[in-house]
Subunit: 340 residues, 4 copies
C-alpha cells in the first residue's frame, strides 16, 4: 500500500509513519512530491494495517496497490478454472445454459419445464426449494420435498442440478440432493454461510449481491476458496441503480472485468435482472456475446400460474428459439457450446 | 391493486382478466380511460396474484395501491411504538445515544470507551463480538468472550447493550448476554435470521441494507413482527450510491419518510456511513435535527490501534463536545434527551 | 392518471377531488376499494394537473397511466423509424458501426483512423471538435478547424460524419459541416440546445444522460421531435452506479426496453462506458447481440499520444478483429450489417 | 501522480515509463514493491499526461495524488470565502435562508410569498423565470417579465434575489435583473454556460448535478473561478440513487466533505430533493445542523394551484414554524443567523 501525506506535513509526522510501518513488519519507502510526500509500505496490506496508518497525524489517505483477494485472483492463478460437474466441463472455452423454473411448485411442472429446456439444449437444471421472499406472507418453497423432486428430475433428464441454500444449517441437507449449491444475491455477504459451503465438498454458484462491487464479489469467493473449496462459479444478476424501469441493472461489463481479474467462470442471470420475460432473450444473447461461461434462465410452462416471479419466466417455445441464436453467437466468438 | 390494460386492448382480454380476478377471490372494478382500461382488483394484493395478473394477455402492468407490509405500517398501528429496554423508554419523544467501540478488542478498551460515553450521556453501549468482514483474513471478533465482556460492562456502567448477531445458530447465545440484538445491514434480508430473532423475546435493532429501499426495510421488520416480537428499532446507516467520496451515502430523508409510513423508532448510524470520523459529528447532529429517535456512534480511545474501522471512530473528547450540541438540538425540536 | 385517496378518507375530500378533475377538463371515475378509493381522471395528464391533484386534502398520491411522451412513443408511431443519412439507412433491420477518434487532434491522425475504420467496415465517422471536459485546464478541441477536417475526411472516405454540439450558439456552424449532430450525455437535458437542434434540419444523435432514466431520454427526444425534426437516434453510453470499477455502468437492458416503448433507432457507445479499451470489444458485441441499431467505438492509431480519452480507444487492428465477430453476430440475430 | 506497474513487469517497460515521465516535463521516482513497482511522477498531473502514461506497456493503472481543482481547494485558499451580496455576508459563520416560489407565476403570488418568507426571516428571495422542464409540454416560466417582477419584489422587500439562467445567451439579460445567477443541477456540466457566468461580474449559485461527485462539483466551480469570478456558492440538492421513495437522495455528507476540501459556502436545497413538502422542514433543519451556510426552500401560498413543483412547496405558516426551530439550531452549533 502507499500512504499519502497531507501537503507540507510535519517531518516528525513522516518519521512516525515510517516507524509505524516498520512496527507493522513492512518496509517503508519515501517519495517526496511537489506538494506531498508519499510513503510506500512494502510487504502486504492487511485491512487493520491500512486503517491504522490512515489515522496517523499528517496522513491524508492510504491507497491499496494489490487486490485484497488472493486465491480468486489471476495474479496468483493465471489459467482459467474449469470445473467438472457430473462430467460437464464448466469454464474455459465451454458455454452452458442453466434453465428451469424459479421455484419448484410440483413434480409435473418441474418435469415439464425440465424436459423442455433439456431438449432445447440446457445442460443444467435450476429450481428453488428454499426461496428468499421480500414478504413474509409469500410462498417460500417446498423445502426438502422440492430438493427430492429436483434430484429425481436431474437424474431422469441427465442434467446437473443447481439450487439455492439460504441457511448454514441447511447446507448438509441441500448438499445431499443438489450437484451445485447456489448462494443468492442477498446472501453474498452472509459470511458464515460462505464458510459452510466452503467446507462442503460441492461446487458453489455464487451470485453477485445487487449492491456489491466486483471486488466484493471476489472477496466473497475468497471466503469459499479459503476453506479449500476451489469449485466456485460466479454469477452477475443485476445491480441496484436509479434506473427503475427494470428490476435490476444488468452489469455486463462485470463479465470481461471479472475475467481480467479472476480465473473463475462467470455466468449471467438475465431473468432476475430484467424481471420481464420480453427482455430476457436479448440480454441472454448479449451475455454470451460478452464472453460469459453461460447463462441462467427461468423457464416455466404456465408462468401465469407460477407461485414466484412468473413475469420473468420465458416460455419453452421462446426459450428454444433463443437457444438457436445463442449457439451461433457462441460459435461467432470462438467458444464451444456444451455438449460440443 | 389495479390492472392497467394495453391501449385499445381486446375486450375478450378484459373479460378474462375480470374472470381471473374473481377466481383469485377479489372483486373486479372496470374504469374505461381515453386510451386504456384500468381494472381494479379489490380485496388484498398478494405477490402471487399481482404477478399472475401481470401476465394475462392485454395487460400492460399491475400497480399496488396498499403497502405490502401491515404490522409495521401506521395504517394499521397509528401511535408511535415506544420500547422499554432495562427501564429506558425508546421511541416517541425520547432521544437516546448508543455509543461504544466498533469491535470488542479487550476488557480495558471496552470499559474505557464505555465509561467515556456514559459520562458524556450515552445510555446504550455498543460493541461487536461477531463482526462481518469483507475479507476472510480480517479480525472477526472475540465471539462469546466478547459477549461476556459486553454484559459485564453494561451491568457495571448501568447501560443497556446492543450487539450484532450474524448467524441464526447464534441467536440464543447472543440473547443470553445482550439486551438488544442487532441485525447488520448485510443481513437485512437474511430471512431465516429475521425469523429467529422474531422468535427470541428480545428487542431487535434492524439496520437498513445498503441497497434496500425503505419499503424493503419495513418488509424485513414485518418478518420479525410476524413472529410476535413487536420490539423492533430501525436504523438508517447509509446506502450505496455513485458518490464514492464517502463510504456510504447517509439517506436522512429516510427518517421522516419512515416516520410517515411506520410507527417504529428509527435511529441513524453516521459512523458506518461516513467512514471518516471528521464527518461523524455533523451527521449525528443532522440526524437528530431530522427527528431520529437516536444515533449510534462508534467511539474508541485509541482508534489508531483499533482492529476494525478505526478511521470512523470518534475520540471521547470530540464525542463529549458533540453531545453538548446534540442536547440543544433535541431541545430545539421539542423532543427530550434521555435521561430527561 | 389515477388519484389514490388516503385510507378511509372524508367523502367531502373525494367530492372536491372530483370537482377539481372536472375543472381541469377531465372526466372523473370513482372506484371504491377495501381501504381506499381510487379516482380515475380521464382525458390526458399534464404535469401541472398531476401536481395539483396530488395536493388536495385526502389524496395519498397520483399515478400516471399513459407515458408523458407522445411523438417518441410506439403507442403513437408503431413502425420502426428508419433514417436516411447520405444514402445510409439507419434503424430497422440495419446495423451500422460509427467509429473514429474521440477528438480531432490533427489532419493526419483523423485520416489514419478514418481509413482504418472504413476498411474494417465502419460506415460513419466520429470525431470531436468541441469537447466537454471536466477540467477547465484540459484540451477542449480544435473548434471550426476540426469541423472542416471532419467534413474533408468524410467526403474523401465516403463516410457520414457525427460530431458533438455543446452550445445552442454553435448549432448553425456545426450543422454546416457535419451530417449528424451529436448531443452529449451532459447535455441531454440542456433543453434550449435540444430545441435548437430540433429546428435544424439535420439528423440528431442523442446520448442518454448518465443519470437519466429511459423515460427521461425519451422526453428529451420529444423536445427535438416537437420542433418537427423526426430524425433522432438514441444512444446508451452507460449510467452512474456504485460500481466504480468501470467508468460508467453500461445498461444494455435499455436497448430492448427502448425498442419496446419507442420507434427510434438505439445505438450503444461502449467506449465511454468502459473507459478501458480491453473491455470495449466484448461490450460492443453484447450491444449488437442485444439488438442495437449499431455501436459507436473510439479508435485511435496512437492512443498513448491522444489528447483525450486515450485509454478507451481501441487500436485499429483490434477493431478489425472485432468487426469480423460483430458481422457474424448481426447475422445470428437475423439483422443486416450495412452495407448489405 | 503515481504510476502503478503490473506485477513482475519488464524492466524495459519501467524504463520507457520513466523516459515518458521526463518527456512530459515531470520528475520520475521509482519505488520497488513486493509484487509491483510504483513510479511517482512529480510536478503536476494533467488529464492528458495521466491518460497517456496509463497506456504504456506494463502499466497497471495511474493514481492521482493531488486534487484536479486548484482555485476551489482549501489547499490553495485556506480561509472560508465570505461573499457580499447587497450587504448580506454569505459564508463563514453566517447562516441565510433563501425562500420563495419555484416559478414566478404572477405579481401577486410572488409578492405574497415574498412577504411571508421575509417576515419569517428569509434574507434572499428565489423565483424561476426560466424553468428547465422534463416535458416540452410543461410551463417553462415567464422569461424577462418574470425577471422584472423578481427585481421589483426584491427591491420592495429589501431582499437579494436568486434566479436560474439556463442558456449562455441569457446571461447578460438575467444579470441585469438578478443579484445572484443560479446554475441548475442539469447544467452543472454545461461548460460554456459556466464560462459565461464566470465572465459576468455577479455572484453565482451553483447546484450539484444529481449524478455529480463532490469533486466534479468543485471542478465545475473551478470553471467559474478560472474566469476571475470568485463569488461562487455551492448547493447540495440531492443525487440519484436506487431509493425511489423520494425524488432525489439528499446527500448531507457532502456538506462537511465540501467544507473539508473547499473554502466556498455550501447551501442545501431540501425541496427539490424531497419532492414532498412534508419532508422538507426536517431536512432543512438537518442541513443547518450539518453546518450548511444556508438552505433554499420553496414556499407557495396556494401550492395546489402552482404551475410547477407545487407538491414540494411549503406553506407560509409551516415555513414560519420551521424558522423558529432553525434559529435555535444555528445557535446550538455556534453559528449566527443573518441578520444577527
Amino acid at each position: 500500500m502507499i500512504v499519502v501525506m497531507k501537503p507540507n506535513c510535519d517531518p516528525a509526522d513522516q518519521a512516525s509513519v515510517v516507524a509505524r510501518i516498520r512496527e507493522l513488519g513492512l518496509t517503508p519507502h519515501l517519495s517526496q512530491g511537489e506538494y506531498r510526500t508519499i510513503i510506500g509500505a512494502i510487504g502486504g496490506a492487511t485491512p487493520e494495517a491500512m486503517d491504522q496508518l490512515d489515522q496517523l497525524p499528517g496522513v491524508d489517505h492510504v491507497q491499496r496497490i494489490t487486490a485484497a483477494y488472493k486465491l480468486a485472483s489471476r495474479e496468483f492463478h493465471e489459467a482459467d478454472t474449469v470445473i467438472d460437474v457430473r462430467g460437464l466441463r464448466i469454464g474455459g472455452p465451454h458455454v452452458h445454459v442453466i434453465a428451469g423454473p424459479c421455484t419448484i411448485e410440483s413434480r409435473a411442472m418441474l418435469f415439464d419445464a425440465g424436459r423442455a429446456v433439456r431438449e432445447a439444449g440446457a445442460t443444467l437444471l435450476r429450481g428453488g426449494a428454499f426461496k428468499p421472499r421480500t414478504s413474509p406472507y409469500a410462498f417460500s418453497g417446498l423445502g426438502e420435498e422440492g430438493l427430492k423432486l429436483l434430484k429425481e428430475a436431474g437424474d431422469e433428464l441427465g442434467m446437473a442440478t443447481v439450487t439455492e441454500v439460504m441457511d448454514p444449517r441447511d447446507v448438509p441437507l441441500v448438499a445431499r440432493y443438489a450437484d451445485i449449491l447456489q448462494i443468492g444475491a442477498r446472501n453474498m455477504q452472509n459470511y458464515n454461510l460462505l464458510l459452510e459451503v466452503g467446507r462442503a465438498n460441492k461446487p458453489v454458484f455464487l451470485k453477485r449481491g445487487f449492491s456489491a462491487t466486483v471486488s466484493e464479489l471476489l472477496m466473497s469467493a475468497e471466503y469459499i476458496l479459503s476453506q479449500g473449496n476451489h469449485k466456485v462459479m460466479l454469477c452477475e444478476r443485476g445491480i441496484r441503480s436509479f434506473a427503475e424501469e427494470v428490476r435490476f441493472t444488468l452489469d455486463l461489463s462485470s463479465v470481461p472485468l471479472i475475467q481480467e481479474h479472476s480465473h473463475l467462470p462467470v455466468f449471467v442471470d438475465p431473468s432476475h435482472a430484467a424481471g420481464k420475460r420480453d427482455l430476457v432473450p436479448a440480454l441472454a444473447l448479449a451475455a454470451v456475446a460478452a464472453g460469459a461461461s453461460g447463462v441462467m434462465i427461468e423457464v416455466h410452462g404456465h408462468p401465469e400460474r407460477a407461485l414466484c416471479d412468473g413475469p420473468q419466466a420465458v416460455l419453452p417455445k421462446r426459450f428454444a428459439e433463443m437457444m438457436v441464436q445463442l449457439r451461433q453467437i457462441v460459435h461467432a466468438i470462438g467458444k464451444q457450446m456444451w455438449p460440443a
